[in-house]
Each structure stands twice: as structure tokens, then as C-alpha cells.
Amino acid sequence: MGFSVSATMAIFFAAFLTLFSFLYASVNDAFDAVEGSLETKLDDMSDRASTSIDFVNARYYPDDNTLEVMVRNSGGTSLEANATELLIDGLLSASVTYEVNGLATDLWLPTDLLIIRLVDPNIDFRSGVDARAFANTGVRLASPTSLSVGDEVYVLDGTSIDVFTLEGAFDFTITDATHLANPSDVKVYGDYLYVLDNGTHVDRFSTEGVWTDEFVADPANTPAPGSMALDGSYMYLVDGQNHVDRYDLSTGAFVDILVPNGGTMTSPTDICAGAYLFVTDYASGAYHIDRYALDGTGGSEIITGSALSVPTDISVSAPGLDDRHLYIADGGREILVFGEDGTYQDSVDDGLSDAVRGVDATGKIYVSDGANGLVIENLGTSIKVVTENGVSKVMQL
């Protein structure tokens, strides 16, 4: 009897030791696993709490149809650049490239500047946005008229040209008593600034403001140029408020009379070029807008006189964009926005005075205003940047 009890106790004891060791190992493993995951979770939460980003800028470059979004890592956590997401107007952009402090690296350290580049962005004008004003230069400009936007903003102000950054900060002034005697229109494209001067010829300057040459001076074919437009191939000149001439943009050589007088063309006063040519025309006591194909054919009136007051400048979205609009400085007090087919979209007057003169919509809407200087308005396109750990910022373009 005693031996049986002893044997039973021995079996129980051995079983207890074995099972306890199994149980202990299992609990210990589970604890270690959960503890490790908890540490990871706490690390992630700590990283996220110390992650912060700030928008520096967003710029659209029409020549290569590229949007650049600049974001600074203003937190204390190193991030992966390639794991950053960009949403334009709510749509995720898949084909973006990244550059950190000028390097194609993935490590985005605190204080580093990340540039996200997107070719063919879906930036667009958004109607119904009440507060658009982004910046203005105040009274810096005395009597601004025409303006043009490239890598910087060139505003014709009397007989000088004031140059601002795309964010509205003053950069420098171009003055040249000889070659800026009586300038009336200014356009920038590529490496050059083109200035219509004295109503007789077009001077060409470097974008730094150094006179280069008299690019078009052709009294035989274009004796009275009044307005000009540029695209990658040609310069279009409205001559004598009568017709449109075309010149080669690489050589300055006369090409042809692109749109002769007659038909839809009565008394043109202004012109802009995008995917089409748009001409402000004056007929029967009122202004209207005609649209032509880039080869000068297919002219048709797309905006009637009843929709306009006195248009002083006209601009169109870059041809590379999918959704293009026409922007017209009208009546000295607002920017009228139409679709490329002439469909009315909206009027923009946030932050504008009653002395609106010129407009160029490139990335944002840039307006020359006699009272407020250079006024910059948002198109209304929403840009959102999301980091690898879900921290995000939203801005308007």
C-alpha cells in the first residue's frame, strides 16, 4: 500500500515538474512576444508623436508640365522619403519622384527638405472657393499692367519690370532706359524675357534682366505690334489691331500671317496661347473672345460680349494640363474664369481692388492690381502629403 502511494506521488511529481516547465516556457514566450510588440508599438507611437512636416512651397512648371512640392521635416524623427504619399485634389499620385536636399536618397532627416516631383499633375481651378488670396505685395508697384510667370513673376510697372518670386517676395527690378522706352507687354518663356516696346518691336532680355537683342523688329510685316503670346515654337503678335502674325521663336524670323483680318477677326486687342489661341476681339461696340486652333484655323466666338465688360488681359492654363481654363482680367475689378470651351466657371475677386490690370494663371493666379500690387490667388487645388507613419499636411495650390 505504501509503495503504491509512493509510486503515485512520484508520477504526480514528475508530471507536475514536466507540465509546469511546459507551462512556464509557454507563458514566458508569450510574455516576451507581447513585451517586444508593446515596445515596438510604443516606439511607433513615440516616432509618430515626434513627427512633424511643414509645406515650404508648391510650384508648377508649365514648360515641362511638372509640379514640385517642397516639404520640410520639422519633427525629430527620421523618415523614409520613398514612403511619402502625395494626393492632388484627393487623388493618390503614384508616379512621383523624391529628392532630399538635392540627393536621390531615401533618408529624410529632421530639417531636411524633401522635393516631390510629379509630371502631368491633375491641378485644376476649383469653383466656389471664397478665400483664395495667398499673398500680395502691397503698394510696391506704382502702376502695374502686364505680367508673366515663369520661374519668377515679371510685372511691367511703368517703364520698369519688377521681378518677384512665385510666392510674391520682391527679387529685383529691371530698368533700361534704352530698351524699355515705352513697354506695353511682357512674356517670359524658357531662358528669355520678351518685351513689346514702343509699339514697334520686341526686345529680348535674359531672365536676369540683361538686354540680349532686338528679337522682332519687322516694320514690313508687323508695323504696329500691340500684344503678344508665346508657346514652345512660335511668337504670335497682334498687329495693328487687325490681324495675327506668327514668328519663329528660335530665330525670330517671320513665318506668316496666321489669322488675317475678316471672318471672326475684326479688331483684336489681346492674345494668349495654350492648347489653342485665344484672342480678345472688339466688334459692334463690345469685346468678345474668339478661339482658334494653333494653325490659325477653326476660329469661333466662345465668349460673347454680354459676358464681358472691358477685358484688359487674358491668360490660359498650360497646354500640358488635362483641365484647362481661360482667365480674363475684366472691368478692372475681377478675374473671370471660363472653361476652354467658353463655359463660365467663376469670378475671382478675393483681395482685389478696383484697379485690376493683368493676369497670368500658372500654378496659381497672379494678378497685377493698381492698389494691391501683385496679388496671388489660389487655384483651389488641394495638395496633401502623408508621411510613412500617417502624419499629414494639406495646402492649397
Binding site: S4, L19, F22, A30, D89, G128, V386
Partner: protein
């Protein structure tokens, strides 16, 4: 008498061995079940702790018709995107199309974005979408359709 006492002792001994073995066997099964449960539970807790998702849509510009919901895996666990549950305005969405961006495999890896496409036109106003992963981690986004 001597032989019968010895037989009795033997019977007691064998019985004791058998009974204690049965008891130990039952206890062993219970302990194995317990350890298995602890392992499963710890794995679940571990996965939940290392799983995190974020709906990264722009709340003022959520694409409509189809509704596109962008969900980023911001945890460190690779997930099976087919096992997510999407609820739009409180109703489970059955017909959705999934696509991955930035994932090196067929599964929803860390840092990659899952696009949930829902063929539906939302009315103007406020809406809510909730996405829940296979291990019950979820994120919710309130947004407005203009």
C-alpha cells in the same frame, strides 16, 4: 494469506499506476490546451500591437463615383487585404475592388497603400468610412462631399 496479500498489493499498485497515469494524461492535455491558447492569444495580441492603418484621403476631396478610399499600412505587420471589412456610412460594402500601391508582394506590406474602389455615388454632405483589418484594427474617416 501471504500470496493473497501480495496479489492485493500488486492490484493496488497497478491500479494506482493506471489511475495516476490517467490523471496525468488528462492534466497534460489540459496544460497543452492551455499553452496552445496562450500561444494563440499572445500571437493575436502581438499582431494587434504591431498592426496599424491610416485612411489618408483628403477629407475635403474624396473621389466620388467611384468612391476611392486610400488606406496606408503604417504598422509593421504584412496584412491580407482580402480580409478587410469596409463600412461606408455604417453599411458593410460588399462590392469593392482592391489595388495595392508600393507593395513588393501580393499582400499589403508595411508603408504600402491599399486603394479601395467602391462603385457608388455619394450624395453631397457628410459621410463616414471605416476600414477594419483581419485582426480587428480599424480606422475611421469623416469626410464631406461638396
Amino acid at each position: 494469506m501471504g500470496a493473497s496479500a501480495a496479489s492485493t498489493q500488486l492490484i493496488f499498485f497497478i491500479s494506482a499506476i493506471l489511475v495516476s497515469s490517467v490523471v496525468v494524461g488528462v492534466a497534460t492535455n489540459s496544460v497543452f490546451d492551455l499553452t496552445s491558447g496562450i500561444d494563440d492569444r499572445s500571437n493575436t495580441v502581438k499582431n494587434q500591437l504591431t498592426t496599424d492603418i491610416e485612411i489618408i484621403n483628403d477629407q475635403g476631396a474624396v473621389p466620388n463615383n467611384p468612391v476611392l478610399v486610400y488606406v496606408k499600412n503604417i504598422g509593421s505587420t504584412t496584412l491580407n487585404q482580402e480580409l478587410i471589412t469596409v463600412m461606408l456610412d455604417g453599411t458593410v460594402v460588399a462590392n469593392r475592388t482592391l489595388s495595392l500601391t508600393g507593395s513588393g508582394s501580393a499582400y499589403w506590406e508595411s508603408s504600402s497603400v491599399l486603394t479601395v474602389s467602391i462603385t457608388q455615388t455619394l450624395s453631397a454632405g457628410d459621410h463616414t468610412v471605416t476600414v477594419t483589418t483581419e485582426n480587428a484594427i480599424s480606422d475611421r474617416l469623416d469626410f464631406r462631399i461638396a
